[in-house]
Symmetry: C2
Amino acid sequence: MHEILIEEKILARNDEIAAENRLALSSRGIYSVNLVSSPGAGKTSLIESMTQHLKDLAVSFAVVEGDLEGDFDAKRVESRGVPALQITTGRACHLDAHQICHSLPWVYGHEGLELLIIENVGNMVCPAEYDLGEDAMITIMSTAEGDDKPLKYPAIFSASELLVINKTDLAPYTDFDIKKARENALKVNPYLKIFETSCRTGDGIKEFAGYLAALTKSKMK
Amino acid sequence: MHEILIEEKILARNDEIAAENRLALSSRGIYSVNLVSSPGAGKTSLIESMTQHLKDLAVSFAVVEGDLEGDFDAKRVESRGVPALQITTGRACHLDAHQICHSLPWVYGHEGLELLIIENVGNMVCPAEYDLGEDAMITIMSTAEGDDKPLKYPAIFSASELLVINKTDLAPYTDFDIKKARENALKVNPYLKIFETSCRTGDGIKEFAGYLAALTKSKMK
């Protein structure tokens, strides 16, 4: 019982800080999203692919990257001319609100920023429980992973507002059934808004970036 | 500091139980492996694909499945005529030694069992820290995930004895460089024995199953 009590205390404290982050970002008119997925589902590629579209739509954005070690992802994003901050979590399998809180001075340093994209550590379990203060959690699943993932990792699909089914270009070479994946996801969370994308062909990227831009602009009103 | 101390205490207790599991399985001549990967890298498919080869090699084996919810994987394995026990972890992103300890009476119920395959929850972080008492940890990564995974999730590659690069049939349709993945994995852990497999084409499955059978038989001597 002690372990559970301690965990609940940690989560309660996380939620408090997350609420402060949300208020702080909102008061500055910054819309924020939390990208979660398995390792290798294409979170960083999705950010890279969206970059030009978001720039075309005049959305000023920055990225906070979460990884156990290294700054591979921050460098990839920066090479596209997007400000990126790398948080290394060491042994932790998820970002937490406290880490995001510490990144906010860096975020505020970018004048006129409208959109903060947080890329979480690759993990389909624990990020579901750690609110970072974001406006929307976005789960990305790839067609290489299996269309049963929503049923096997329901918490993350329940916690998300948006779902991106990525790597649609690979679907013809796998047993992944996009229709079934959609059905499984909506079974777990009927409110999910679902997009289909391929970072290789560019399919669906403009639509997803456009939707994110619209959410961002609506926040500023 | 308290959080870290508590975590270390939990891990120390886990290691104690893992040592007991290891001793108990060894004393019965049962070789055990712990399959870890991202969600959707193909752990269950690999078990399904190996089944006939292991039967041909007269290896008697059973499977313990770890998932947050449901018994999808146990059912898949059982439909191939392999005894399977499902452990549901609820919110936990990994199996622990205590759960495996509780599964041992079921394991022992299968007379003449030589190989226990434990399929962990899909997660590339926390399973690295939770010894289950297995003889070998096997990381599975798919060619859909990116060849940089060993550098971004080094702990799990370090903790493993074997690495399976799965879904080689998808490699031509991705940017995944198998040679680079091998180099990155060996940079993190020079002792890794690496296999390449495709559950769709069957490539490499026989070799991997044969190696596992040889490890199993050598344990019995």
